[in-house]
Every structure is written in structure tokens, then in C-alpha cells.
Chain length 255, copies 2
């Protein structure tokens, strides 16, 4: 497969812009970068060997404008771009039908968390593709295929479901890690002790389903340990502990 | 460092017995194994090239009896063992002071989740050591040092705190993965799509603290996306979503 998209302009200079920009730069020509943030935008342009467009209207002609901005800003960015420009955005939550109509509008949604200073192997990352016409959808598919072997067509509804699930396994899980760190800190104990466990918890799920991987006092409905834990916690963490413990007990059919 | 403990009998045949037994077998003599479960117990004895003791009283003389049974059963096992036998158990939650007094009683608590069919690299796993006398504590420390370079003395209170934090980052995190899988299944979408994200979420924390690693709609206090998600969820998952979202907003000082 080869894509008809040979040049890309990028709008945005956050984590997604940075990682997709770097990844695509190995395969297509990154012509220009625009960002409201002069510092990160011009740095990204330099890193990608691209022209830095100080205003949206300065971006150079490209086969695709890749919009890597916050969900709330996608609409405004689209409004500022000439209608003949082919555009794709990277959001899980925003429906195509909610945006202003144009000839070619699509989505490239990588289901991954990106941080500025961490390299991520994109080859196994799922990319979900949608567009307002089949030809453009195929072009975006072929473009994403340059980076990953998990490229999938998905409509806005399925993408929203996937994004919601991603919020659970990334945002909520990360916050539970934060609450565990906060708890240990309050007892003058190091969060670092948990790192091998956090890693193994995730790696185990690469080959085991979450139901079978479940262990612990809630699974065993071990009331003495559960009560002992609840006594140690502050109100907020206690509420979280109680809710998730009850949910585990319920789903694993303990009495 | 070298340990005075040259021979071990193991009581139990679950995941912890299996993994610690296999690991110690490379360094000391596993003399006998006892388990109420004949099948898994005799199999473990065979795997470890040890005698299978059908009753507790049949276990062979050993420098240490390593008790790898459920928290609730530790007391009964200890009562059935002659007082001159040196014993250690592997639980995070059970306090030494809650158990019957004997000459040498201690704890080797590995902070990790073990599954029968998954090998775990113990070398980086923290082992928390406690005993009712200093000499025996040092012997247990030196024994654990055979397996890991993260061996730490910790009293029963600290061990309880660590166990509680472990419940959060393993049991609760795993259950959130289960709820995400359940949600995706209800929408005919594959859990497998989440695996690279689950892995990266954990790996990122090896070098970033959870506060800095946080991303997502709750961090941005993106009310439109949050409301959209809540509308999609069943009551139970909605409660979990709302509680964790509010907690993220609170801790990250959004307005």
C-alpha cells in the first residue's frame, strides 16, 4: 500500500503533534508547522525541518493538514483553513458530523498516551481512521499504515467508545497510582516500591484477561483485611476503595 | 552475605508457594512441601524435587518453614507446627504480634503479583522482612537477598501500608481494566486495542511520577467530553467515572 499523501502540514505543537510529526517525517515531507505557542511551535518546525507558520494562513500547500490541537479548538482551526484543504484531526471524542462541512475531512486517532520525552513504538499502536468520503478515508488509512500495523476504520461512535475505555485504563488508572503514591508518602514510604508491581500488572494483561488476572482481598471477600484497610484511609480514598471493592465482589460473585 | 538457612520446607501450593519455591530451589535445599490440596501440592513437591508431606506433621526437618497460605490460615498452620521450628510467612496484611508466640517467627513479603503460568523477574521485586528477633530477621534478610536486590526491613505497620497501596495499584487497577473490557464488549469492540495503552501507562511511571503523567478530559476539566462519557455508561461504571474524575479535578486544582 502507498498513500497519495506525500506532504503534511501540522497544526499544534503538543505531545501528539510532536510524536506524529516525528513519525511521519520519516515517510512524507513535513512542509510547515503552525502553533499558537511560538516557542514549542518553532522548535517543532525546526526539529521536523519544516517552515514555521506564525499564522494559520501562512501554512504552506500540503496534501494534508494534520490538526493536533485540543478538542475544543478543532472547530476554530477548521474554520480558519481554506475549504479546499484536506484536513484530519487526532481526537477520540469529536464527531466528524459535529464539525463544519468541507470536501475532505477525516480522523487519525492513535489510541496511545504520548509524553514529550518518551519515545513510543507506534508500530503496535492502533490507529482509528474515519473520513467524510471513502477515497479520503483510504488515503488516511494508507498514511497511518506507514506507522502502524494496527490501522482500523472506525466511525465516530466506535471511536468515542474506544476513547472512553482509554480514559478508564489510562487516566483513571494513573490517578489510582497517584492516590497510592499520596498514601505511601503520608506514611513516609517510597512509591518506587510499587513500580515492579505496576509494570507486572500491565504486562500480565498482555496475555491474560482482566477477570482471570484479578487477585486480592476483594476477590477473596476477605472482610478482616478490607475493614483494616478502610480504617487506614482518608475519606476520599476510602470512598474509592469501597466502591471498587464492592464492584470486584459483585462481578466475581462472592457472597 | 550468606544465609544460615540452608533448607526450607514449604507449606502451601498456590502462586506464591510455586514462585518462591522455584526461586529458592536454585539456592537452598527444598526438603518438603505440604499442602491441603493433594494435587497441586504433590505436583509442586515433584517440581521442586522435594518430599510431599500429606500432613503438616510429616514435613521434614528444615532450617525454615515458609508458610505460603491465605492470611486467614496462617494462625492455624503455626499452631500445628512444633514451637522450635523457625517459621516465616509471606503476607502483607498479617501482623506478627497477632500470631501465637514462638522462638523464631518472621515475614518475607514480596511486593508482587504472581500467576501460575507467568515467570516474574524477582531480582527487582522488593522483599519486606520482619521477625520477632534481630538474629532471625537478618537470616531472613540474607535469604531474600539470594533472590532480590531490593530487600528491606519493614515492621508490620509499614508492611500493612505497602500492602494497601499494592491493592490499589494492582487489584483496583486490574478491575478498572475489567470494567473497560466489559464496556468495550458491550459495544462489540475488542479489549486488545487497549493493550499498548495499558502497557505504556505502566511503563511511563517507571520514570515519571503519576501527577506529571496525568492526561485526559478530567485533567483539562473538559466538561463536554466528561458529560458525553457519563451519558454512555451504566450506573456502576458511571459512579466510578464520576468519583475518579472529581478526584482528578480536585487534585490537579482545576476550576
Amino acid at each position: 500500500m502507498s498513500t497519495g499523501i506525500k506532504s503534511i502540514s501540522i497544526i499544534g505543537s503538543g505531545n501528539v503533534a510532536h510524536h506524529l510529526g516525528k513519525a511521519f517525517a520519516g515517510h512524507v515531507n513535513i512542509t510547515s508547522v503552525h502553533s499558537r505557542n511560538f516557542q514549542t511551535g518553532s522548535q517543532l518546525a525546526e526539529d521536523l525541518n519544516a517552515f514555521f507558520a506564525e499564522t494559520v494562513t501562512d501554512i504552506l500547500p500540503s496534501d494534508l493538514v494534520l490538526i493536533c490541537v485540543n478538542d475544543d479548538d478543532i472547530r476554530d482551526v477548521l474554520k480558519s483553513l481554506p475549504l479546499e484543504m484536506s484536513c484530519a484531526y487526532c481526537s477520540g471524542a469529536v464527531e466528524i458530523s459535529s464539525l463544519p462541512v468541507r470536501k475532505n475531512l477525516g480522523v487519525i486517532y492513535p489510541l496511545q498516551t504520548f509524553s514529550l520525552h518518551r519515545d513510543v513504538d507506534l508500530f503496535e499502536v492502533p490507529f482509528f481512521i474515519e473520513a467524510n468520503n471513502e477515497f479520503f478515508a483510504q488515503e488516511l488509512f494508507d498514511l497511518a499504515w506507514l506507522l502502524s500495523r494496527k490501522v482500523v476504520f472506525a466511525n465516530s461512535t466506535d471511536r468515542k467508545h474506544l476513547h472512553l475505555a482509554a480514559v478508564m485504563v489510562n487516566n483513571f488508572v494513573n490517578h489510582i497510582h497517584f492516590l497510592a503514591e499520596k498514601y505511601l508518602k503520608s506514611k513516609s514510604l517510597e512509591f518506587a516500591y510499587l513500580k515492579p508491581l505496576i509494570k507486572e500488572t500491565a504486562l500480565k494483561l498482555q496475555s491474560t484477561n482482566p477477570f482471570d488476572a484479578q487477585t486480592g482481598p476483594a476477590l477473596r471477600n476477605d472482610k478482616v483485611t478490607i475493614e483494616g484497610h478502610l480504617d487506614l484511609l482518608d475519606e476520599e480514598t476510602k470512598e474509592m476503595y469501597g466502591m471498587l471493592t464492592n464492584s470486584i465482589i459483585k462481578h466475581h460473585n462472592n457472597k
